[in-house]
Symmetry: C2
Subunit: 336 residues, 2 copies
DNA sequence: GTGAAAGCGCTAACAT
DNA sequence: ATGTTAGCGCTTTCAC
């Protein structure tokens, strides 16, 4: 069933059907009804692929989400969707696997859907100028920024917390509560990503407060998932090094860490405090509740859209928006 | 940058560029290199929209996932992707919000991408014949089946656990452990979905074992999320009715329920056992670990693909595959 | 081996 | 108010 079939059956031209399809006023009511009912009868579905092809512009914004079903993104996505709707634009979302290249995906969508802009949710922090040249419309990086790339500040936009500083604050808080032997659960020391940034904050906090850094208190899970975190912490316990607190680079890793600690006979927070970063919904339901520096997901979604639309509508320049993580106090830490 | 631009710049025809693009052998090597380097230089990205439009067939299968970032789907999606790759097909995934219509989405994709088949992950259980007529290629429902619809068994395929029976088994297990006052946390009693099915199994188990059903022990959260489940259980506690076990229709609700119980001064499993269904990864990290009847996600992904390909390749008929949930024993239940 | 031409389903001038 | 025509970017016969 194509527009042609409908036209033939209704005894009108393709253009007339197209007009009906697009709700144009210049069609006789009688004809409109005839066409409409014919479409209904045949379950006609217009081919967006063809529409996109011929269209030269749109009011569409793309959202490329890296990492399938990451619970941390759920609320950001919801907010972005709402804000885009509110602004009268249309959102098309594309999820890609962690292995895929978000820039390329954005570039493809830009051409195919005639996007006005793109929001990248989760992505690499080391773009080069050559790479982003692929995308010819404004874009903003949400939840990460170009920490390891060589992009100049006036070439891209982003909305994110300061990972290094946030980690610093978490470890600092542990210090102020009397902790001196503070272990760290990270993904990798130099993954050029959030793990490295937050690990950097951990190191700086120790240094700032004159706490001797002990490599035996740092465990690398090698990834960001829960089984990895669990095993890493079990291994940490094997080392039989004393520590009174564990700083985790993410909530999901912290949840697995708490389980590993308990399985290893270490009670939280009595024998070990656990402090992390993110603010996952799930962290409010663990026992004990997780103490975490929570990312303001709603604000991040709003700022991302606001920044992108400012860029699209030409009334603002590139900027890197920094938002503040807020303490969500659970029961996983205690002063000693 | 279009194929035309490349052709002009290389001094060849569009057809030749198209041949290079599609890796055809009938292009002089020298020309191929020239075209290839020209594409590279200009960051040329072929327009899939245009390719799809002209193409009459494909080896593509669609995956429509209902509910953005549902952690339960993560492993199923991964498995489906792998199996489709293995079979030499291509997978295109589309996530839709719970409010959207998956059948329509599948129908659109079918036409635009010339799909050979569709897998629906999560969806309504009440399709009608008229509805599914929209989709003209084979499809299989993964993780749900047509419990409330009027589809005849030879018109659709599905892969799912038996929700009613699984709930029955969970409640039966609690009964055998000595529990008689068994509460239930559900979404709604008649949502024509998984909540109603599992609630039915709960009721049947009580009846089978001659346990008097008490409506005061049933709480409806109204939705499937954690805040809803948490408040529902807090409300249950307010009723001051005695119960020694709580059956939850999903793991995520059970996790919130455990938190609510503890906050209400009820320890799990000492004062109340908690039993649920799903097998979320997170359920292995709670304290206590959740005892649940786990859906075999890997098998479900495999069976979905196997069934779909059987349908596509014409060597098998529609079937409703039933898979068994397996007990994952945590520490959230105890005999009394 | 390469090019010319038709056409995928649709929109958007431009006529009438 | 409606039809005719060109063309979006690409693939695919069919010639040469």
């Amino acid at each position: 069933m194509t527009i042609k079939d409908i036209a033939r059956e209704c005894g009108v031209s393709i253009s007339t059907v197209s007009r009906v399809l697009n709700g144009r006023p210049d069609v006789r009511e009688e004809v409109r009804q005839r066409v409409l009912s014919c479409m209904q009868r045949h379950n006609y579905i217009p081919n967006n692929t063809a529409r996109d092809l011929v269209k030269t512009s749109s009011d569409t914004v793309g959202l490329v989400v890296r990492g399938v079903s990451n619970p941390f993104y759920a609320n950001i996505i919801k907010t972005i969707q709402q804000e885009i709707d509110l602004a009268g634009y249309t959102l098309v979302m594309q999820q890609i696997h962690s292995g895929e290249d978000e820039i390329k995906c954005g570039a493809i969508m830009e051409r195919e859907k005639k996007l006005r802009g793109v929001i990248f949710l989760g992505g690499r922090s080391d773009y080069t100028d050559a790479e982003i040249a692929l995308v010819n419309v404004p874009f903003v990086c949400c939840s990460y920024t170009n920490s390891y790339g060589n992009l100049s500040a006036n070439r891209y936009s982003s909305v994110s917390i300061e990972d290094e500083e946030t980690a610093f604050r978490a470890v600092e808080a542990l210090y102020h509560m009397g902790h001196r032997r503070i272990a760290a659960l990270i993904s990798e020391k130099d993954d050029r990503s959030v793990s490295e940034l937050r690990y950097g904050g951990y190191l700086r906090a120790l240094k700032t407060y004159g706490v001797e850094q002990d490599d035996d208190l740092v465990v690398c899970a090698g990834n960001y998932d829960m089984p990895g975190a669990y095993h890493a912490v079990r291994e940490l316990l094997q080392r039989e090094k004393e520590f009174t607190a564990l700083f985790c680079i993410s909530d999901s890793m912290a949840i697995a860490a708490m389980r590993a600690l308990k399985d290893g006979g270490v009670s939280v927070p009595e024998s070990c405090s656990v402090f992390s970063i993110d603010g996952l919904e799930m962290a409010e339901y663990t026992d004990p509740r997780l103490t975490t520096l929570s990312q303001p997901t709603e604000l991040m979604g709003q700022e991302s859209v606001r920044t992108l639309l400012g860029l699209i509508e030409g009334n603002s320049a590139h900027k890197q928006v920094i938002v503040q993580a807020a303490l969500k106090a659970g029961g996983s830490v205690r002063p000693i």
